[in-house]
Symmetry: C2
Subunit: 128 residues, 2 copies
DNA sequence: CACAACCCTAGAGTATACTCTACACTCGTT
DNA sequence: AACGAGTGTAGAGTATACTCTAGGGTTGTG
């Protein structure tokens, strides 16, 4: 499979695919090149990209995705280790959620103040 | 007030303060320099930075903060306009919260699977 | 054989918010 | 006068995830 087909099937741009290669998320064995130097992507790449997408959709970064995939392929990712990793991530996500909740509250208050005529943001800057 | 004092009072690094200057979030009139070329920051800068901090703490970016401050100083920021702006931001925040909630659920499921022995992340990559 | 549509690499650009480095001048103290 | 600490500018580096450009070769169709 050439990069164009892969891009179309994965709904990623060629640029993104090459970018993933640079990051080491995808590997193409140097041998699997056509005579014209075009890269021949194995079927695996498709499921690899699916995995990357599913992992990142779960809130992991690309680097983390690479780490996870490597661990799994090495067979080093036992449930206990995985759990530790996931719990750590969960805490981060929870923190982000808390931050956003605070932000949302602030926004709601400010929006309300816009109606009652006391705009908080305005006050912030006007007061010297 | 020199930059060192300002940095100490605002709890920002000198670098950050200069960075804010570059972004136009803070202005120092060219006249208010000491003979030795040191910048003399007016008291206002302190409240300006406080405003920036409070605005960004509410989930706005630095650019947005600059925009808000400019609008307010221009007196152009009437409640209706402000409300529109805030509601738009609220929607973005809500979207981020929804995304994070989904991520959190996925994490919880995966963590649970670690205990029951069916690790989802593992499955993702193992299946070809 | 021209031309579009594909492929290759290397590297720059975008966005956000810093963070740090290099190099040079200035201030206060010893 | 030497020293550390403070200040100035300009510009590079960090992190994340792309996105695009330049410059070049290849393939297939009319």
């Amino acid at each position: 499979m050439l990069i164009g087909e892969l891009a179309q099937k994965t709904n990623l741009s060629r640029h993104t695919i090459r970018f993933y290669e640079k990051l080491g998320l995808i590997q193409v064995p140097e041998k699997s090149r056509r005579k014209n130097n075009y890269k021949e992507y194995p079927e695996e790449t498709l499921s690899r990209i699916t995995a990357i997408k599913e992992i990142t959709a779960r809130g992991f970064t690309l680097k983390e995705a690479r780490g996870i995939i490597t661990l799994i392929n090495d067979g080093t990712l036992d449930p206990q280790r995985a759990k530790k990793y996931l719990v750590k991530k969960l805490k981060l996500v929870q923190k982000q959620m808390d931050d956003l909740a605070r932000t949302k509250n602030n926004l709601l208050i400010m929006i309300d103040q816009c109606d009652t005529g006391v705009c908080d943001v305005t006050r912030l800057v006007r007061e010297k």
